[in-house]
Subunit: 131 residues, 2 copies
Amino acid sequence: MGTRKEISELPPEADLARADSLAREIFSDVANKWAFLIIEFLGQGTMRFGELRDEIGGISHKMLTQNLRMLERNGLVRRTVHPTVPPRVEYTLTEAGEGLRLVVDGMCGWTQRYLGHIEAARSRFRDPVAG
Amino acid sequence: MGTRKEISELPPEADLARADSLAREIFSDVANKWAFLIIEFLGQGTMRFGELRDEIGGISHKMLTQNLRMLERNGLVRRTVHPTVPPRVEYTLTEAGEGLRLVVDGMCGWTQRYLGHIEAARSRFRDPVAG
DNA sequence: CCGTATCCTGCTGGATACTG
DNA sequence: CAGTATCCAGCAGGATACGG
């Protein structure tokens, strides 16, 4: 075997290679902007439906419900209903959800770090001469 | 620069709070499954259009083109055209792209680690009694 | 081989209204 | 307050064709 790395472990994308694999399916489910925003804001702590809606901003009732159900189905978010009037429903990250939160935090950091690069690239793309 | 105080005490999602902020816009652009898959597979090294298409699998010509343009526009991917016949077009991650790759690698690792949790959660969701 | 354009279908996702 | 359902405009995204 080669001299490239000491350990010939599988590359990180190994399980994404087959489009019909479970890993690929989960990846495709979760890697969308609403899911990421929900995970990120829920990272602040347990929140009610309306609170979360307000925190995120710009998300419709329908999209929030739909994505929360998807995240619940995949065990990233736990839903707790308090049988009061009016009802109080709280959402919390599970352990898996907290794990994903670290990834999303990483993406937030990345956005911060490369904001300048990206803006520059955008103007270069609009006007290839000036760059 | 001098002794600037660390601003890292702000929560990671601070810049995502306003739905119309630049950070939020970039975040929303890039956090989608095709972009992530492209970044991840391009992490293996420079690739031609067709190669990348084959590696990813299950992506249409149109989606690949469209997302590659978006990533190029944001400076995550560099496009090199070799003026031969037939043409040879190669795509490479930029520094910013490599930075994002680390995040996506993190997500691949997360998927691996919680695959079992997620499968369990799914069956629990289908049949709340049995678990 | 790669890019762009066009067509067309089905799904996304917003707005609204009603229920408990 | 939260969930679900309905309606429907608009875009996503696949298939195809042609040009460089």
